[in-house]
Symmetry: C2
Subunit: 211 residues, 2 copies
């Protein structure tokens, strides 16, 4: 006899435990919680994921998740369409939007270059970024990728691709500024708990103090 008193229970636990970070004990607890819900509530739960998978689309411009072919950010006339912030994923767009500090548009790569995981430049949305830039109305690219080796590799690859583009089209638009998000000591952090690489860089890349 299986560990579970019911096959349908076991199947539901298997599905719940297939989510990353959910162990079998937690999965069982969540499934038994689900069992106490009404039929309508369980249908709403299951339906939300079916609908998500069926209806969600990716913005044709920036590849962010969207309900429409062009997402609200890309279609907004109030956003600065000459500045593109390049991010790894959808969460990053939401995080930057939550800061309220950015008014440009985005480009969601859907991953970063990682030879270790077999992810190359063709596996993520880099070609489509270069196409957007090639159209000629972009002034600045902000690289907002993780500050890891993979992020640095991807930054450098994108930088080279945009340089090549400008070499091929010297009569194109004026030079595109390529910047990356500032790296340094996180706000609120003690220096003694900041790692040496970050602290070292924060001294080398010090900024003018405006008293």
């Amino acid at each position: 006899m299986s560990e579970y008193p019911s096959i349908v229970l076991e199947q539901a636990v298997n599905q719940m435990a297939s989510l990353p970070g959910v162990g079998r004990r937690t999965a069982l607890r969540l499934v038994l919680h689900m069992l106490r819900r009404t039929d309508e509530e369980v249908e709403a739960f299951a339906g939300a994921f079916l609908r998500l998978k069926k209806e969600v689309i990716y913005c044709r411009e920036c590849h962010n998740i969207s309900d429409t072919e062009i997402c609200p950010i890309c279609s907004s006339p109030r956003r600065d369409h000459s500045t593109i912030c390049v991010v790894e994923n959808v969460q990053d767009v939401m995080s930057i939007e939550n800061t309220g500090q950015y008014n440009g548009v985005y480009h969601v790569l859907g991953g970063i270059i990682s030879p270790m995981e077999g992810i190359g430049p063709k596996d993520i949305e880099i070609d489509s970024l270069i196409e957007r830039v090639a159209k000629g109305s972009v002034d600045e690219i902000i690289l907002a990728l993780p500050t890891t080796m993979e992020g640095d590799t991807t930054n450098f690859y994108i930088y080279r691709r945009i340089q090549n583009l400008q070499t091929q089209n010297p009569n194109g638009n004026s030079e595109i500024k390529i910047s990356q998000i500032a790296r340094g000591v996180a706000v609120g952090n003690q220096l003694e708990y900041t790692d040496e690489i970050t602290l070292g860089r924060s001294i080398v890349n010090r900024t003018e103090f405006k008293g």
Copy 2:
């Protein structure tokens, strides 16, 4: 504009975050993970909960979750049907089964008496337990409820109901033994980290040392 770039995404996050212990940030991570699955995988995920809710039944005897009217434990001829272990919920049955130390049958109350949460004796499966006992083929009731005030209250209530039953039917079966699971220092625990009530009880209720 909502915090989320898509309404179907937001609805899926809302559903995921409705699970106990799942925050909105985790819910978003799980939902985006779900989005990377194939259509078939998402259908299997959603379907497991719909099927669970539609097909699962509760054993007519012990009220454990089951695929059949009488669960495999209650219908097994190899189990001792004269001993009933009374537990709060389905997880408890699984925990005791995993010990491999018990060969009787169960009775799942589906909760314990808790005046604070408005759960009375009529809200849980106590009447059906008394009916099972009244049939006359039960020798022992093992109370395996949580060692909390609510558990103690429920233990005492069941004890009184069975005593009443025996007073009403003096010609019924021989006296039913009512026991409760041993309370004491958990195996592998240091005495200094055991709470005083448990340690005190473990001295009062000491058992004979069999060298």
